[in-house]
């Protein structure tokens, strides 16, 4: 029954996780679709630190459940654990098919080597002190699995859907991670290869979450234990154990390594089951003291309270680190420079805050309908490796969309209402008229303004100068009248040069020109009001000028709030009753 419950739960978690990461139809994310991402340990820890209420509840529940049941997270909820369980099951199925008895090296008791995992835990804790969540991105089992789903499963599902429908339902995003897939895949495959070899060895040596939860499950209230009075030492439980933590010689289960898969219970025909035990009784005396204290203490490395204390101390370090970082890393820039190397998603408040909370799981990247969110290599710097940034050559941030902020399981992107999102200034556009087609080619374009959702960018009718050198007598009248000093006579004096970056299309030059060498065309020219700009990047994405676009986006370190343009209702320019033709 215990094992059955575990399998049902793991199946549900696996299904919902895969579902959440596939996202073929770009639907607005419903809460249930992203439920399992929110009950993960590290995301809940980081979410709690970001002040997200539900994350606190989840973290509280996990912290309370572990001392009661043991490391249930590792088998019921952890996606990397579930993936390892699938591999272990496959291995067993293969052994069974080959007629091999499962008595290989994978299925025996191994004495604990706790120093490895506590070293990892301390390293991660200290590392996060210096890097925020940067190091957590590399070790969090959820994020390792999630990135694989985002990088490999998501495009694979798109390929499959296209094949089934026999049309291009959605373009598979293999290029999103590109060569990084080697790394992403390797990080995911390492635990699985280890699992094939030695069961849940990854969880008990390299995983800091496993180490941390192991500290909390030193003496769970409900504990798997064998009754020496009924046990016949058939070792069925030992063979079934994925964590190699059943010490049959001493009738002991190392609960710090047990991942609560309950396979041993299903395997045992002689009374192995979870028992409610007195938490204050000495380990090994659950069954009326039938075990000798001597045997126990020889094998229990966890018996000193000093170690537990040190472990808990290690756990509190990343907590302190992450909480203290954003404040320290986002001072108001003294020189007024609020730019960042790359743009972070709306809701992340500031780039440094974002980088210190995000674990780079890639969920927002798969949820983003326009694919503007891409995993960074070094765009954010070292601490932003694999974390999302807005790549305005790939797309632009959809004005009416809040997908990334509603799916983020760690609170790195805080939830935004649609109205808030529409004002959140994540970057600023700048207009470089010297590259603009309207000025350069003297033809209308409007690609940028048609995409601008806030009308920070609009077009007004301007008089763009057109110069015909053949008619020019180099009298200099246009040069003198230009209010922007955009016109100059060439050093040789043969013709006039126009600095398009300075020109405001006022048309004065063409009015004074006596020969018609300087004429002007009435064209719709772009004008930018930065107060209204939210930095969605639509203008830059749409700008057809290459290689350098006429619209450029400057990422903001601290996000701002844009003003909203309110206009009176438009008035019908012609009669509403009669046709004007």
């Amino acid at each position: 029954m215990w094992r059955f419950l575990r399998i049902v739960c793991a199946f549900l978690v696996g299904f919902l996780l895969v579902w959440g990461f596939i996202n073929l139809c770009n639907t607005e994310p419903a809460a249930w679709e992203y439920l399992v991402e929110r009950v993960q340990f590290i995301p809940a820890l980081l979410g709690t630190l970001s002040g997200v209420a539900w994350a606190g509840v989840v973290l509280g529940a996990l912290v309370v459940l572990t001392p009661i049941f043991g490391r249930v997270y590792c088998s019921f909820l952890c996606p990397l654990g579930i993936a390892q369980d699938i591999v272990i099951r496959l291995h067993r199925a293969m052994d069974h098919l080959r007629g091999k008895k499962s008595t290989g090296s994978a299925h025996r008791f191994t004495p604990p080597v706790p120093y490895v995992r506590y070293t990892v835990l301390v390293l991660v804790a200290v590392g996060s002190l210096f890097t925020g969540a940067a190091i957590l991105a590399w070790v969090d089992p959820y994020s390792i699995c999630a990135r694989f789903l985002a990088g490999v499963l998501n495009p694979l599902a798109a390929d499959a859907a296209n094949m089934l429908r026999d049309e291009q339902v959605t373009a598979p995003a293999w290029s999103r991670y590109g060569w990084l897939l080697l790394l992403v895949g390797g990080m995911f495959l390492l635990p699985l290869i280890l699992a094939w070899w030695r069961g849940r060895i990854y969880c008990n040596t390299l995983c800091p979450v496993g180490a941390l939860l192991g500290l909390l499950s030193r003496r769970p209230l409900i504990r798997i234990g064998m009754d020496p009075n009924s046990c016949v030492r058939c070792a069925a439980c030992v063979r079934a154990c994925k964590a190699q933590c059943i010490d049959l010689k001493n009738y002991r289960v190392d609960t710090t390594r047990c991942v609560n898969c309950y396979d041993c219970i299903s395997a045992c025909e002689h009374g192995l089951r979870p028992h409610l035990v007195n938490p204050f009784a000495a380990p090994g005396t659950e069954f009326g003291g039938s075990l000798s204290r001597k045997n126990h203490s020889a094998d229990s490395p966890m018996s000193t309270s000093r170690r537990a204390f040190l472990g808990l101390l290690a756990m509190s370090v990343p907590v302190a680190a992450v909480t203290s970082r954003p404040a320290a890393a986002t001072p108001t820039p003294a020189d007024g420079n609020n730019t960042a190397p790359a743009t972070s998603p709306p809701g992340s408040v500031s780039v440094p805050r974002f980088l210190s909370h995000c674990t780079g799981c890639g969920l927002c990247i798969t949820a983003c309908p326009t694919r503007v969110l891409q995993p960074a290599t070094l765009q954010h710097g070292f601490s932003g490796f694999l974390k999302p940034y807005l790549d305005f050559t790939q797309g632009f941030c959809n004005f009416d969309c809040t997908a990334c902020s509603s799916v983020c399981p760690v609170g790195a992107i805080l939830p935004l209402s649609r109205a808030e999102k529409k004002r959140t200034q994540i970057a600023l556009a700048s207009f470089h008229s010297e590259r603009c087609i309207v000025y350069g080619h003297q033809t209308e374009c409007g690609a940028c303004t048609e995409h601008c959702p806030t009308k920070a960018l609009s077009t007004i009718e301007g008089k763009v100068p057109c110069y015909t050198p053949e008619n020019c007598i180099t009298c200099g009248a246009c040069v003198d009248i230009c209010p922007q000093h955009a016109l100059s006579l060439q050093p040789g004096g043969e013709h006039v040069q126009i600095d398009r970056a300075k020109c405001i299309a006022c048309g004065k030059c063409s009015r004074v020109c006596p020969t018609g060498a300087m004429t002007s065309k009435r064209l719709m020219v772009p004008v930018l009001d930065s107060k209204l700009c939210i930095g969605c990047g639509a203008c830059a994405y749409a700008c057809p000028v290459r290689p350098e676009r006429a619209m450029q986006i400057t990422p903001l370190s601290r996000h701002g709030s844009a003003e909203v343009l309110h206009e009176a209702p438009a008035q019908n320019p012609v009669s509403a009753d009669e046709f004007p033709f």
């Binding site: 139809c25 326009t370 009416d400 206009e567 033709f581």
Partner: protein, 311 residues
């Protein structure tokens, strides 16, 4: 046959053809008397308070009473190209109203179309746009098929020898392969092209729109009509966006025109549409360019216009 009888017959056939269009057929007033047969009208302008009824009335007038059967023969495949470019709701008039597109699909199916495809090369994410514009739901409810325009694999190279700038373009296969092409845009202001109506809507049948912008937008718009001339144009001018187009900012950008234009002459429709938005002659350059290329008549005084009012 007297003209009056002719119109009456048209209404009778139209009514029998589609019962739900009845409301749009009877209260017809102000029908201008004219000497030419109805089907010769290059342009029909309808006023009313219900888009679907206005569409029915326009098609009845254009189709010599036969409605859509004048444009779609049984067994023919139809592609409808609405303006479905922006992730905005129907109340924003940024896309063709879903009720019009849905009704057009239904009429095509009733006329015996083998299949009715609908697509646009959306500017915003296409899946969100199809969904939030309401067009996908309306099309699928009416038995049409909403297909993607978001992938280059759907477009084929197509020569355009008559063009001045756009000599070659990648055109959506549905446009090239369907028997009937119905152009069904919404009337809006446009920051670059000044106005978007029937001609500008054809930009969405092409893959590389960036080429338009960088090679004289107005000329490319006129050229794009030659890629495939629409068999029928229907322009939703019920609540056009007067400013901040073509995406629009809020409902304050809209004016209540309560009009619908339809016809075969794409230049005449756009010339009339420009007047609805208050543009002077010559202000929307692609209209003049298209007229100079012989694609239609921009001078409305030389055009037979059938004006209908549907109460």
């Amino acid at each position: 046959m007297q003209r009056r009888d002719f119109i009456k017959l048209g209404f009778a056939v139209g009514a029998g053809f589609s019962l739900d269009t009845l409301s749009g057929l009877f209260p017809v007033a102000n029908a201008e008397e004219s000497a030419v047969p109805t089907e010769k009208y290059p342009l029909v302008a309808v006023r009313g308070n219900d888009r679907v009824a206005m569409l029915s009335a326009a098609l009845t007038a254009l189709g010599s009473g036969g409605g859509m059967s004048a444009f779609v023969k049984p067994g023919q495949s139809v592609v409808i190209k609405p303006n479905c470019a922006w992730d905005k709701g129907p109340e924003m008039s940024a896309n063709t109203h879903p009720s019009l597109v849905g009704h057009m699909v239904k009429l095509c199916k009733q006329a015996g179309a083998s299949k009715v495809l609908v697509f646009d090369h959306s500017c915003d994410d296409w899946q969100r746009t199809y969904r939030n514009s309401g067009i996908q739901a309306a099309v699928e409810a009416a038995g049409g098929e909403m297909i993607s325009g978001a992938d280059e694999s759907m477009y084929r190279d197509h020569d355009n020898p008559g063009a001045r700038n756009l000599k070659r373009a990648k055109v959506h296969s549905a446009i090239l392969d369907s028997d009937v092409f119905i152009n069904m845009p919404v009337l809006k202001n446009h920051g670059g092209a000044r106005m978007t109506a029937c001609m500008k809507n054809a930009m969405g049948i092409v893959w590389n729109r960036g080429y338009f912008h960088s090679h004289d937008l107005h000329q490319c718009i006129a050229d794009s009509i030659l890629l495939r001339k629409p068999d029928l144009n229907v322009l939703d001018a019920f609540a056009p966006m007067l400013r901040n187009g073509p995406k629009g900012k809020d409902e304050n950008d809209l004016i209540q025109t309560h009009a619908l234009l339809a016809g075969k002459d794409i230049v005449a429709i756009d010339a009339a549409a420009a007047k609805l938005l208050g543009y002077a002659d010559g202000e929307v350059r692609h209209i003049d360019l298209a007229a100079s290329m012989g694609l239609g008549e921009k001078d409305l005084s030389k055009t037979w216009i059938r004006r209908i009012s549907v109460a």
